[in-house]
């Protein structure tokens, strides 16, 4: 029993990020009916955006600065890890009227 507890504790320690940093979060952005859904208000470097395309159509999440370009066939998902702070404008490259801005802080 004690061994098991120790093993579990060791595992928790192993997956916890280095002390001092915030745990990286995953934020889901749903795409439906030709729109990007609500964007997360607080994003940090290291966070992940999970783009979930629930629409009938193929879309993409494409950063204007070229930092990411995620292809999203209908019904599929993709992820972006945020590597730098700042305002990152993005759009769907197939339907450029679908767009938004990610605000990322350190």
């Amino acid at each position: 029993m004690n061994h098991l507890r120790f093993a579990a504790l060791a595992f928790v320690v192993a997956v916890t990020p280095p002390s001092g940093g915030l745990a990286a979060a995953t934020h889901v952005v749903v795409i439906d009916r030709m729109k990007f859904g609500t964007l997360p208000a607080k994003l940090h470097v290291g966070d992940t955006i999970s783009w979930v395309n629930r629409d009938l159509f193929r879309h993409s999440a494409t950063a204007r600065d070229g930092s990411f370009d995620i292809d999203l066939p209908a019904g599929k998902s993709g992820t972006t890890v945020l590597r730098k702070p700042g305002a990152i404008a993005f759009a769907c490259k197939y339907h450029p009227g679908m767009r938004g801005v990610l605000h990322v802080v350190k």
Binding site: M34, L56, R58, H95, G97
Partner: protein
């Protein structure tokens, strides 16, 4: 030249849409489904013609997008009419749309290279502008079923994006 094509295409299609509006201001859901499905099918055919003829990457990408998006929305429309147990009903507007598109396809078949690209994209601008006008002013307000109305609204958003994309391409092909 481009303006001429756009105007000519728009004029043909405006005439095509007009009869149903004049004869029957409010098409029923079975007719609306038929018009929307026909409009999609015709643009898929136009896109396939462009993929067979054009060598311009931007034009081919646009044509692929038209085929993909219009097939997706038409698949959804077919599933919806089946679910609602509605049989799409042929009508003068659908017939006129088809006749105009057949004529345009024959015209485009005679062109090649940049002349084809310009004429295809100009017609896509005119076609989407006209279909979007019909969706916004006639088809969406007339639709009775909420699911059909919602699908038409998604269609209008989608086709407005296509119109903007086509206008953007047309400006670069001048």
């Amino acid at each position: 030249m481009l303006k001429f094509f756009m105007t000519a295409g728009a004029a043909v299609l405006l005439v095509a849409i007009a009869p149903a509006q004049a004869a029957d201001a409010k098409p029923n859901d079975a007719q609306i489904a038929h018009i929307a499905y026909t409009a999609g099918t015709l643009d898929v055919a136009a896109g396939k013609q462009a993929l067979a003829k054009s060598h311009d990457k931007a034009v081919r990408d646009f044509a692929s997008e038209m085929v993909r998006d219009h097939e997706a929305v038409n698949d959804k429309a077919l599933a919806l009419v089946k679910k609602l147990n509605v049989t799409p009903q042929d009508n003068p507007t659908s017939a006129a749309l088809k006749a105009a598109a057949d004529k345009k396809r024959d015209e485009l078949a005679k062109l090649d290279g940049p002349a084809f690209d310009k004429a295809y994209i100009a017609n896509e601008v005119a076609y989407h502008r006209t279909v979007n006008g019909a969706l916004r002013d006639t088809l969406i307000p007339s639709a009775q079923n909420a699911e059909l109305k919602a699908l038409l609204k998604t269609g209008l958003t989608l086709f407005s994006e296509h119109q903007a994309h086509a206008e953007h391409l047309a400006a670069h092909l001048k």
